[in-house]
Amino acid sequence: MSDPHTSGKAVPRHDLIDRLYHWVMAAAVFILMGTAFLPKFGIKFEWLTAHWISGIVLGVIVVLHIFRAIIWQNFMAMVPDGKDIVGAWRTLVGAFADTRAPAKPGKYNVAQKFYHLGIAIVILTLMGTGGAMLFKIDTPFWKRNPYVLTDEQWGLIYTVHGFAAMGIVAMIMIHIYFALRPDEWHLTRTMFRGWMTRKEYESHHDTLRWVPDTEK
């Protein structure tokens, strides 16, 4: 069997560094969720240190990701544009009446773009509120001082952090659901091996809207 990379059958989608980013982020988010919610369900353990360290790890890689996306990657590839909206509308209408095939997306479909936008908002909210909460605990680097904010401001921060935490649980459930759906496996696989087959590329994507880096 020929090597898909050398035979041109492999279409690169996620670089190794992006896949590492995804999986480190996933690990951090799962640790954050476990350390946040398991004690609420009565499973008692020393959760705080793991929670804030995971939060800092998540914060650092998110900042690196933002820099990488702005400077080295095609930032607009993840931003919903007019074609996405039109395509989404056609898909929606087509589900009820239209028999025409829905428009193919570029590298990311409209659902992925909106999902990314949503989880970016949720994670940045968690980072902001969680970062403020670090003033409430002693770490090897600083002493706690809860008086940096008023009681009302702290109340708002805790409320927003709590809602955002519930939000991320819902979003992770949605993410895993779609990742496990058989019709999405070609995308899930790319987050492990980094590439999809040319057949998958041509059948699921608009080759004019997404030209792989190796073919530019």
Binding site: K44, E46, L48, I137, R144, N145, Y147, W154, Y158
Partner: protein
Amino acid sequence: MIVRDIMADFELYQPTQLKDAFALLDQYGKDAWKMGGGYDSLSWFKERHKQPKAVIDLGGIAEMKGISETADGVTIGALTTLTEIENDPIIKGKYRVLAEAAAKVASPQIRNAGTVGGNVSQDARCLYYRYGLPCYRAGGNTCFADTPEGVNREHALFESDRCVAVSPSDTAVALVALDAKYVLRSSKGERIVSAEDFFVGPKVDIMHLTSTRPEEILVAINIPKKWAGSAFYFEKVADRNTWDFALVNVASAIVVKNGVIEDCRIVCNGVSAVPRRLTAVESIVKGKPMSEEIAKLAGQSSTRGARPLNYNGFKIPLMANLVTRAIRDAKV
């Protein structure tokens, strides 16, 4: 404005059988409050900071009272009063450190009604928490004691995590030193936990000082005979000599043979949220002669890792001196 000193209404139950108490706990769940002697409970009720729907007064359950010698040591019912422990010939003869600790609790009147189960299970005495402020221990999201302006001379030196309250119990240190086992029972069964594991710190559970589950009752405390007749020491230092909680207290149980420390357990309270067993100190002194030098070394080692707050730095030399004395002055 909160009206204090007038308790909120609750249903009072006074079962005389454990099974009836378990049934009430199962019925009311987290709305139930278990009461022994009542000294911790009534202050909470009068301040109206705790307003349970049902109070289960365990005082009428005979099987939770009394001290009896067994083949393995001694069993103390959780409702045994501190005065009974203080005066019991078995405890005084074989486990003197516990009798001495019980004798130092509060005042004679309180010891006459206060129970050993209540003494080890009592809640933290942090003044901010007791005042009803919404701190971490009360389910809030801050600690008022560990702040730049917080009054914290009675608070923790070790193992604090957001909350800096300490375990206030005098008998707890003696029971950890004696390697006691706590018998916790519910309608679902029984579990026995060591005295050390009975207490939990804020890292694990910031709202409770013990691992007792809502549906469980501490029914008895078993003391193994391993430490019977050892050399013991107990000392409590408080702002006044009676009716006060310890700033720091210490208990030790030491087996000495031919002037050499063969085995020991040394425990301090008032310095962390759980009675602090000084295992590093124990390792230092085991196998060494029971001397002034070793006792001093032990005292100095005991405070390693302490992180004083703004106003409790005095506890460091206090703890070091108490540990020194707990080794040097331990007597059979």
